[in-house]
């Protein structure tokens, strides 16, 4: 057990017991049910007790600060600061739980929503109370079974009188950018899930102009647990700088894997079982993340302290180990092509630059690249970075640059008309077919 920071002001040892008298789960899992069975309301109440409302706005924020919770949606922003920022705004706030992962390689949010919906829904109510919100939404992709399940969970809670604010379920299109905070705001307002130009930031003016708290569903679930069991419990796993557990979507080199809850700071090699299933490169952070070499992967842990210095990040916990028999350039070209197709098409540099980058990378994968390809890719990368309304071009460029570095040998092979792969079976998941672009952003 790590030496937890005992903040004098948080006498939360008392609240480390839920109303059922349980102490928080020791060890893991915390977010996911212990027996892997999805928890209905009765099971949830048995294990965790009712929603521990504090009785007023802002009262929860200090607890969250002591716990050191950071956002689990990818940006790892300190949650207490987000809560404070929204609570400080003039006007009544809106809270939206963001369960629209968008990322094809990530399934942690839908797993969490399926298995432990009530933790997420508790978190929504508690966050709403903390910022003084009067409108609450849950934003998920349009998957019929999940939506039905959530509707049932909400109905259960309504019957039991658990929710103080009625939750509006909003469905999102199956687009990569649907979970982007400003696209979410537009969609919740009833429009298409397209990003906005900021400022003003969403926490200042979001849904219908109101200050809006957008929080990933895992963050809300963590918040619900911390409210019951306290910061000390939360800090019992993880590192001092990055406490707690997180959900990861892991793809092992043998094709296996799935969603796993793991403490922050776990060695990547252990998470990906690299000793058993060796990889030629490891993708950390999904399609806006970065490729790591095996040497880096064997040395580093799942923490921003380790990953940020090399230009990567924990992100939303997507980890994929590319097996030795695949071609890193072909895989990366597929991803970049997908990312280019997922551009919202609103900003000139992204709309023009990403398809050019994708085409060039595909040509390289097909052994048809022009001699100017490397220079072109570098130039276009610089031209699209930070010149869009959202960070889609930035993330794409980060992924691209890491691919060209991690697979430098393969690039040289392809330029010479060769390839070292044994199989072109797609490894990373890319949604099939070209989406019908007509009205598929709403």
């Amino acid at each position: 057990m790590t030496a937890a920071i005992q903040d004098a002001a948080t006498r939360d040892a008392a609240s480390a017991r839920s109303d059922t008298g349980n102490q928080g789960p020791s060890g893991l899992p915390r977010l996911l049910p212990a027996d892997s069975q999805p928890m209905d309301l009765a099971a949830h109440l048995r294990v965790h007790g009712p929603t521990p409302y504090r009785g007023g706005a802002r009262m929860l924020i200090h607890t969250i600060e002591s716990a050191g919770l950071t956002g689990r949606g990818g940006a790892a922003f300190p949650t207490h600061r987000k809560l404070t920022a929204v609570a400080d705004q003039k006007g009544t706030a809106v809270v939206v739980g963001n369960g629209a992962e968008g990322e094809p390689a990530s399934s942690k949010d839908q797993t969490l929503l399926w298995s432990s919906p009530h933790l997420v829904l508790d978190g929504l109510q508690l966050a709403a109370e903390a910022v003084g919100a009067r409108k609450v939404h849950l934003y998920v992709h349009r998957e019929p079974r999940l939506v039905r399940r959530l509707e049932l969970a909400l109905a259960e809670r309504a019957t039991a009188g658990l929710d103080r604010i009625k939750v509006g379920l909003v469905t999102a299109p199956a687009r990569f950018l649907a979970g982007e905070e400003s696209a979410l705001a537009n969609r919740v307002e009833g429009g298409a899930a397209l990003p906005r130009f900021t400022p003003p930031r969403i926490f200042e003016r979001g849904v219908n102009g109101a200050p809006t708290l957008v929080q990933n569903v895992e963050t809300l679930a963590q918040l619900a647990l911390i409210s019951r069991y306290g910061p000390a419990w939360f800090r019992a796993v993880g590192t001092e700088a990055e406490p707690g557990s997180m959900l990861t979507t892991v793809r092992l080199a043998n094709g296996g894997g799935g969603v796993a809850e793991t403490p922050l700071g776990t060695p990547l090699a252990r998470l990906l079982r690299l000793a058993e299933y060796p990889a030629q490169a490891v993708l950390v952070g999904g399609y806006h993340g970065a490729w790591l070499t095996p040497e880096q992967a064997s040395r580093l842990t799942l923490s921003n302290a380790d990953l940020r210095p090399i230009g990567a990040a924990v992100g939303a916990g997507v980890l994929a180990a590319l097996p030795a028999d695949r071609c890193g350039i072909v895989e990366s070209a597929r991803v970049v092509r997908y990312l280019a197709l997922e551009s919202a098409g609103q900003c000139g540099p992204c709309l023009n630059g990403l398809p050019l980058i994708a085409d060039t990378l595909v040509q390289l994968a097909n052994h048809r690249s022009a001699p100017s390809a490397r220079g072109d890719l570098q130039r276009w990368s610089k031209l699209v970075e930070r010149r869009g309304a959202c960070h889609h071009p930035d993330g794409t460029v980060r992924f691209l640059r890491s691919a060209l570095t991690a697979f430098a040998g393969e690039v040289a092979l392809h330029e010479a008309g060769r390839c070292s792969a044994g199989s072109y079976e797609p490894f990373l998941p890319i949604p099939a077919g070209s989406p019908d672009h007509k009205d598929d952003w709403s």
Binding site: F197, G348, A389
Partner: protein, 67 residues
């Protein structure tokens, strides 16, 4: 107070007037979209910058105070 140029990338459709009026601070990329200088607009160019902001057919260009 420093003034800097910013462009709303969503509104911008690459008319290119701004680059004609203020070439010292605005260049066009190979697709016709503005590349803005990170530096603050020098005082003597401010009137020209304001004109560029005013003349943008889609009001995508902005002058912002401060950092």
């Amino acid at each position: 107070m420093d003034e800097r140029l910013r462009v709303n990338a969503i509104l911008c459709s690459g008319h290119g007037l701004c680059a004609e009026l203020l070439p010292e601070q605005i260049d066009l990329d190979e697709w016709g979209y503005p590349l803005l200088s990170d530096e603050p607009v020098p005082k003597k160019l401010r009137p020209l910058a304001r004109r560029a902001v005013n003349d943008c057919p889609v009001l995508a260009l902005m002058l912002v105070r401060g950092r």
